[in-house]
Each structure stands twice: as structure tokens, then as C-alpha cells.
Symmetry: C2
Subunit: 342 residues, 2 copies
């Protein structure tokens, strides 16, 4: 039997096609009695099924989910804009899902996969340390984008696109050392922090070591824990502490630009100058860091390129053109006004 | 006839349930032949329809779309975070859709409604001037959030949540006047700009008038047009122009904080000081504007409150608890370091 169409249903019920559509989609603004009648006709003539099968085919499967740790972070704004553009270009729908700092992104993704017909997932931000067993629960392709990761996960199909956080952090701290700084404080995440903080801290340690500077634990300033750890406020609090404790340093490496700017503001409020009294280096290369006064010396991550490549890789995986790719971009040392030589 | 289940399909095909699921969802990693066999069984036993009907009921209708003009603008970051949180709490899915400056948001929304089963829409940012006829094409409830609007649209069910841009802009320009400034430049959007720029410009004009200051068209500095109009770069270009043309002003009102910071940076680069040489006032009250050096005198929009209220209103409309609500929040004058009296 040929299935009936929405027009047939409308005709049988004596209502308009859009009213039938409203009833099906459970939209407001439709009389309850009319709706019941429509739903009965639909049931009787077995209409819904075919309609939803059509819709299923048409669009409901075209979802790409972006799971993001740190939605409030301006670092992600240009990336989200780029993702949205590219996803739309491919006629997919962009589903945005925030993941809290203390949430397990894989659990969130598994939940989302159950609810939505996803074609692919991008994990944005945070630090990734999950077992193979857990990752195998994800049935769609996924790409880790600007996600910290210490080592590859064997036997799981996934891709990643990022800079090498350890290497880039090494680069900027090494630059501070080469300018003559020997007392370099770091504003970093706590040890147990599962995030890029860990990798950037490792780069700092390695750069000190290679420049024959002894590591001084008194110069490590930890960010407060919590969801707004990577915020200006958090950097501001650390900056205040550095000044008030009269930390024995000539330079400060803040593991993100946002934190660097918060610290800068604190130092300014305490009556000190950057870079005259303290040199400050950041990390990320936000657009904003060029317009701050003073502009920041930082590592610029090529965020637009990373975003475009992330989706290219994801679509290649969806279309089975590739199994997995691990792409590492170079960061760029940006010389701003916030660092001087000694 | 009782419909068969996914388990029955799997049994008939001699494959696992998850393989059937993969075939239905068109996921990769399934043999083409197996897939064809499954799809044939599905067709033969009329399976898909019932499954999709179930899914339809379960989750596919629970979409809230946020259409945003100016995704890159940090003004929206805390709002997006708030939306995401609230939408998730209600067990809905957050669909994010960017709208370009020159795109018609209603057309975009109509398209999206066709593709997705939306329950509601939030329009974020931009300026709203659409005919009743066009708005009536939207069949789901919608709320305009922080959208500029000169007048109500009669006969259409919709809600809005925002501050009164004209009134708040008046407030800050009036504040500059009361401090003794008589020559106040404005960095604004062009006349034909369909955005909040128009309303904030009107507030500026009215404040000058009420303070008996003659309007001087030479002190109007227009932002370049284009998608990144409301950017730091755009404010930076205007700021350079103001200094280089030796504009006859003691104060500058920039219609957003981002623009104010761009202008500030330009003035700094040209060797002038804020507020000693120029007072600068912004608008929005970004978190960032408190950490900038100097911190900005600005109007703070209660963005988190606006976001929460926007969704409250939207869900009330979805649940038919209200037809439409127009809620206006007050902005708050924030006294920063970027303005001095004269």
C-alpha cells in the first residue's frame, strides 16, 4: 500500500497542512480537540512513520556536536565562529554542548549520542585522559581540537588537531631566559589539574633546566580551582599574591593570555609597572592581547587554521577517507610590550 | 499488526542490534552489503517508521535554536554559557546558528524550522525590523534577546528581553556632559546600519540636546561596515582617525566596550593618555573592561539576568503560560578610570 501524504491527512481532517504539521511537531497554538483528531487519523492511516522516515533521512542525522570545556573563554570564540561556518557550509547542524571542568566529556558525549543522531563529535579544550574501553563506546568519528594530551591512545580511531603545548610553552620561557631572566615565576594550574596547564608547566620546567636555572617552587603560583580557573579574575588574584608576597622574580609566565591580563591589572593596581618592574608573558595569542596596554608577549595559536583543519579531518573520517590523523600546528612567538630584557 | 522491534530486525538479519542501529543512522564502519540487507529487511517489515516515530517523540523535537548576530563578540560569551546551561537543565538541545551581519535572521530561522523540529527560537543581537507577514511564517515561539528594536510589532506573538539602548546611552553621555565635557565625539555605526548602533546614537543626540550642547557632525566617527564592525580593530581604526585628524573633542563615547578598547589602544600608540588627554566611555560592561588599563567607564548590561529571563520567557511561551512579554532591564553606570571631569 502506498502511504498517504500530509496533504491526505489534512484533507481527511478538514484542516490545513500547517495545522497537521503543528500537531505532529507538538507545537503550541493548536486546539487540543483538533490535535487529537489529527493524531487519530495519523494513527489510523499509519501516516507518521513515513513522514518521520523522510525527515530522518532528510536532516535529523546531520548533526555535528561540539563539546566544549571553557565556553566562556574568549580563546574559543573565533574557533566556534569558524566551526559554525564550516558546519553550515556542509549542510550539517551545529550542536553546542558545554562540559563543566569537573565533568567527564566522554560521558557527556555518550549521553548526547543516545539522544541525537550525531555524525561526528569535536572535543574542544580541556585535557584528555580516557581509557580505550571508554572511548570505544563512542560510535561516531571524533576529533580532539586544542585538547591537551600526553600520549596517544592505542587501538582507538580518533584524530587530534592542536599545537604542542609543551613545546610552545618551552619556546616562550626559553625566550624569557635568553633575555636574561633567571627568576621566572609561573602562574599555573594545580598539579592535579587535568588540563593543558600540566603540559605548559612541563614546558616551563624543561626550559629552566635547559638554561641551567634551578627550579624554585616558591615561584609557582597556583590558580584557584573551579570552573572559572582560566579567568581574568583568577589571574588577578595570583598577580596580587605575587606582588604582596614580594615574590623574588623579574618575569612571570602566565599559562594563558587571560590570566596574564588579570595579573597585569593586579600589578598595575599595586602601583608597579609592566615591563619595568615585572615582565609578563602569556600564551594563546588572543586578538585582545594585541590591544591590551601593554600588548602581550605571547605564543599565538593559529586558532582559525586549527578549527578549519579539525572539521576537515572530521568530515574525512565521516566519509571514510581517513581512519585517524594527528595534526600538530606550530605556535608563533609574538613579541609584545609586556616583556623587557634584563 | 504489532510492529517489529530493532531486536527482531537484528535477529532476522543475523547481526547485532548496534549494527542495525549503525545502518539506520548511516554511520561509518559497516559493510555495504550488510547495510543493504538490513535496509531491505527494514523496508520489508516496515520497521523504520515505528522506530523513528519513537525517536521523534523521545528527543528530536527538543531543540531550542539560538540565532546570533556577532558570534565573535565577547559580549555574548557569558550569555551563550548561560543559555547552554539553562537549556540543558530543561533537557532540551541547544542548536547554535550564526547569522551574518548582512543576513536576514528571519529567513535563516524559517530555513532552520524546516530542517529541524524546533520548540523555540532566541534571536540574539542585531537589530530587528521585520514585517508582521514575515514574522508570522515562524510557527514556534521566539524571544528577541538584547536585540535593538525601535517599536513593537503589532499582532505578532513574540517576546523581548533587553535594556533600553537609547535610555542607557543617554545615561552615559549625560554623565559625560555633567562632568563638564562639551565636545564629545561618538564612534558609531553608519546611519544605514540596522543595529543597536542607531539607538545608541539617538541616546547620544538626546543627551547633547538636553544639556544644551550643539550637535557637531564633525565629531561623529563611523565604524567601517562589514562583519567585524563591532571589533577592536574597528575601534582602533576610528581611534587613530580621531587623533590624527586632531578632532576637537575632550571625550569620546564608543558605542561598545570592544570599540572603546580599540580606540584606547590607538590613542596610546599615538602617544596620548586616557583620561588625561581624552576621556573615553564605553557601553556593555564586559568583564574585560574592568581589567583593562585603564578600566572603562561604561554601562553594564546585566547579561546573565537577561539570558536567564530570556529562556524563562521562552519556556513560558512554549508551555503556553504566556503569550508574550516585553521585559526591559536597567543598565548600570560603571565608573572606571577612563573618564575624568573637565
Amino acid at each position: 500500500m502506498e502511504s498517504i501524504t500530509i496533504k491526505d491527512v489534512a484533507k481527511i481532517c478538514g484542516v490545513s497542512v500547517s495545522t497537521v504539521s503543528r500537531a505532529i511537531n507538538n507545537n503550541p497554538g493548536i486546539n487540543e480537540e483538533t490535535k487529537n483528531m489529527i493524531m487519530q487519523v495519523i494513527k489510523k492511516y499509519d501516516y507518521i512513520p513515513n513522514n518521520s522516515a523522510r525527515n530522518l533521512k532528510r536532516s535529523e542525522t546531520n548533526n555535528i556536536a561540539i563539546l566544549i570545556k571553557g565556553l566562556n573563554n574568549p580563546f574559543f570564540s573565533p574557533m566556534i565562529a569558524e566551526f559554525e561556518k564550516e558546519i553550515k557550509k556542509k549542510k550539517y547542524t551545529f550542536i553546542l554542548q558545554r562540559v563543566d571542568e569537573n565533568q567527564d566529556e566522554i560521558e557527556v558525549a555518550i549521553e548526547l549520542e543516545k539522544e541525537k543522531r550525531l555524525k561526528g563529535i569535536v572535543f574542544l579544550g580541556g585535557y584528555f585522559s580516557h581509557s580505550r574501553e571508554k572511548l570505544e563506546k563512542l560510535t561516531v568519528p571524533f576529533v580532539l581540537s586544542t585538547v591537551g594530551m600526553s600520549e596517544m591512545i592505542e587501538g582507538v580511531k580518533y584524530s587530534s588537531v592542536a599545537v604542542d603545548d609543551k613545546k610552545e610553552s618551552y619556546k616562550i620561557v626559553d625566550y624569557l631566559c635568553k633575555l636574561g631572566h633567571k627568576k621566572i615565576a609561573i602562574i599555573s594550574a594545580t598539579d592535579d589539574d587535568e588540563s593543558i596547564g600540566k603540559l605548559r608547566f612541563e614546558g616551563y620546567m624543561r626550559a629552566l633546566c635547559d638554561n641551567n636555572i634551578e627550579f624554585n617552587p616558591d615561584l609557582v603560583y597556583y590558580l584557584q580551582s573551579g570552573n572559572d580557573r582560566y579567568s581574568m579574575r583568577s589571574g588577578y588574584i595570583a598577580g596580587k599574591k605575587i606582588v604582596k608576597e614580594k615574590a623574588d622574580c623579574t618575569a612571570i609566565f602566565a599559562i594563558t593570555d587571560i590570566i596574564a591580563m588579570g595579573a597585569l591589572r593586579a600589578i598595575y593596581e599595586e602601583g608597579y609597572k609592566v615591563p619595568e618592574d615585572y615582565s609578563i608573558a602569556g600564551y594563546d595569542g588572543l586578538e585582545l592581547s594585541r590591544y591590551y596596554i601593554p600588548s602581550l608577549t605571547t605564543i599565538r595559536q593559529p586558532v582559525e587554521k586549527i578549527a578549519v583543519e579539525t572539521l576537515k579531518v572530521l568530515f574525512d573520517m565521516i566519509n571514510e577517507k581517513t581512519d585517524s590523523v594527528h595534526k600538530v600546528f606550530d605556535g608563533e612567538l609574538i613579541i609584545g610590550e609586556s616583556v623587557k630584557n634584563i
